[in-house]
């Protein structure tokens, strides 16, 4: 390694990357978390994410406002989430299978409808320049926080409060833990689940918007690298706790930034294996974290 390499830039880059690349993970894993607390798995959040990314970009191009784009992503993701909830409410329908179907449909629709938006440029979402005090460009960049990230923090807090302090949240958890109990208590099972899956889809849509309108800030067909699918793993990782979704998302974002940052600092070779590090890590954690506390009882995962 040559002398002018800034190895200390690696942790800074990983920190910045954790927030930049972690934002889509944060939203989609929160969406999955909420869905699963209601007792359903939605693999289709990948479809909602991609559809959200396309709708956000397309909406921003057409309207000229990134905020309207964000709204479009929320609506598109929410509709796909709602569809998941509706289909799963039919008897003897497997939620994982429905998720795969929705993923296919969501991605197909996004690619179909997104063709005209590959070329145009959309106005991006703004960022908070929290590092303006520093003269170091690295610090300034690392502290350039996109507007969606604090929104994600707020969503974490809100979801935590909703699940622990509100009637709706307690009822949803009850539905997720035991449908029989919920029925005995006379809870509106269908409505609770529909609200959770629709909100979950909307959150995944915001995750997609953060990809297309902030980072990397572009729409094309290779934009998502499976963040929506990984959400299911992240939630297991996070033990179905909103705050832990935040840590898991940051870890994943940071792990994704590690490979390029190390190469930039002169550590080369085996970059394919570095790129796979997050997946190996997740698998290892799932296999060796023995306690399965926190899993909603109705979840197919835990049986």
């Amino acid at each position: 390694m040559s002398a002018d390499v800034d190895l200390w830039a690696v942790p800074l880059a990983v920190f910045a990357g954790a927030i930049r690349a972690g934002s889509p993970f944060l939203f989609v894993s929160l969406g999955e978390c909420l869905t699963e607390r209601g007792g359903r798995i939605n693999l289709g959040l990948e479809g909602a994410l991609v559809m959200g990314a396309m709708s956000a970009y397309g909406g921003a191009v057409l309207s000229g406002s990134p905020w309207l784009g964000l709204l479009a992503a929320i609506v598109a993701g929410g509709l796909l989430g709602l569809l998941h909830g509706l289909i799963c409410s039919l008897p003897r329908v497997n939620d994982i299978a429905v998720g795969i179907g929705l993923m296919l449909l969501g991605i197909g629709l996004a690619f179909f409808l997104g063709k005209p938006f590959i070329q145009p440029r959309a106005p991006g979402l703004p960022a908070f320049e929290l590092g303006a005090w520093s003269s170091n460009p690295l610090v300034r960049e690392a502290l350039r926080i996109n507007v969606l990230f604090p929104l994600g923090l707020a969503a974490c807090a809100l979801m935590h409060l909703a699940l622990t302090r509100t009637r709706w949240g307690l009822a949803l958890r009850c539905v997720g833990d035991s449908q029989d109990t919920a029925r005995a208590l006379g809870l509106p099972i269908l409505r609770l689940r529909l609200s959770a899956t629709a909100l979950g889809g909307a959150l995944a849509g915001i995750g997609g918007a953060s990809l297309s309108l902030f980072y990397p800030g572009s729409w094309n067909e290779g934009l998502s690298s499976g963040q929506g699918l990984m959400a299911v793993a992240l939630v297991v990782f996070a033990r179905w706790q909103p705050w832990r979704c935040l840590y898991a998302a940051l870890l994943f974002g940071g792990a994704g930034a590690l490979g390029p940052a190390l190469q930039a600092a002169g550590v080369t070779g085996a970059y394919h294996l570095f790129n796979a590090a997050p997946y190996v890590l997740t698998l290892a954690l799932m296999a060796f974290a023995s306690e399965r506390t926190g899993a909603p009882g109705e979840l197919r995962l835990s049986r």
Binding site: R20, N220, A264, G266, Y271, N275
Partner: protein, 372 residues
């Protein structure tokens, strides 16, 4: 400068037409193809044709060919390098009567083009890459390619004049000869301006990985690089990310200046209209298929993007001067003595490797000054 580019390609176009009519003495093709002045041409792309990159460069040229009289153009995008491309070629032939096919992705040639070409000896397959060899591959197939490292050398000269940190960044897909050659040419162009300049490379691992490309561009800027370029299928993300970080950028494949008007210095672009025209003219006139054609700036296979405002007048003058030398055939990029970044001599003193030299096609080293 766009004037000179135009005149070059026009000159070449005329050359091609003249050459085509000269050799149109009844070859085996004349019966099959010279019947009437109509030709159905198929273009096959591996990715989306509006990617601001590799596929767009081909599609832009295809759009020019489509306008020629007598031409029917067929296009298909996102065709995988599997039986899918074999069947797309066959379908264009069987159902739409294609007589000349441009399978534009490097990976299409072996085995896919070769297999279909053996089945349809009356159809011409002009593959983009450099793989056709006399005596090995059939006469109804052929390769065309461009020496785009010349454009990357010019990018390097521009970067050398624009960089203040003396550090450049290169986002690359895979460490294959074509990519290494571009990285080397870019670095050597910059070091012709200032030998203290270094280039740092990040390999993303694949041709289209937007998030990784953005992350790589950010990491390079974090490490102090202030001019970036790339060799990935769609440079859009790298160009936009670099511009957002306040770095300057050199384009690749197609013209990306619209994406970052203030940060764009210049760019290395394909000019596929030239080989396309040569091949289409030959097919229409019934001349034998030109099996192995390639060229650089001089031959009109490559062009450069217009200069952006970030490149100083002195920088523009330097790039233009280097370009004139290339157009006059007075500049050899790869000549000895040349050491790689591990200190080995890769080209001995006194040796000049012309662009046509096959040794350049097996490049597996990175030149001195490249870190990565």
């Amino acid at each position: 400068m766009s004037e000179s580019r135009l005149s070059v390609s026009r000159r070449h176009f005329l050359q091609a037409v003249v050459a085509g009519s000269l050799v149109s003495l009844a070859g085996p093709w004349s019966r099959a193809l010279a019947a009437g002045d109509k030709l159905t041409v198929g273009f096959i792309y591996v990715g989306p044709r509006d990617d601001y990159g590799y596929n767009q460069a081909h599609a832009e040229a295809a759009a020019q060919i489509r306008k020629l009289p007598g031409i029917t153009a067929l296009e298909e995008e996102n065709v995988a390098e599997t039986v899918a491309v074999q069947k797309t070629m066959e379908s264009m032939i069987e159902l739409d009567g294609a007589q000349l096919i441009f399978p534009t992705s490097f990976g299409y040639f072996d085995p896919h083009v070769l297999k279909v070409a053996a089945k349809y000896p009356g159809v011409r397959f002009a593959h983009c890459g450099g793989l056709w060899r006399e005596g090995v591959h059939p006469k109804n197939t052929g390769s065309f390619f461009g020496y785009i490292d010349e454009g990357q050398y010019l990018n390097g000269v521009a970067a050398g004049h624009a960089s203040k940190t003396r550090k450049l960044g290169f986002v690359a897909a895979k460490p294959i000869p074509q990519v290494l050659r571009n990285i080397n040419a870019f670095t050597m162009g910059a070091r012709s301006v200032d030998p203290s300049i270094t280039t740092r490379v990040i390999f993303t691992g694949d041709w289209a990985m937007p998030v990784k490309e953005a992350e790589a561009a950010n990491s390079l800027v974090d490490q102090g690089a202030d001019v970036l370029t790339c060799h990935v299928d769609s440079p859009k993300v790298v160009v936009e990310t670099a511009a957002r970080r306040g770095a300057m950028v050199c384009g690749y494949h197609a013209d990306q200046s619209a994406l970052a008007p203030q940060a764009y210095l210049t760019g290395a672009q394909w000019n596929w209209v030239t080989p396309y025209t040569t091949l289409v003219q030959a097919a229409m006139s019934g001349a034998p298929m030109p099996n192995f054609i390639r060229g650089g700036l001089r031959e009109g296979y490559i062009k450069t993007s217009p200069y952006g405002p970030a490149l100083s007048a002195a920088g523009q003058a330097a790039v233009s001067a280097t370009k004139e030398k290339m157009l006059a055939g007075a500049l050899t990029i790869f000549k000895g003595p040349l050491a790689d970044n591990k200190g080995r001599t890769v080209i001995a003193a006194g040796v000049e490797l012309a662009q046509t030299d096959v040794a350049l096609e097996a490049m597996d080293w990175l030149v001195e000054g490249v870190q990565g």
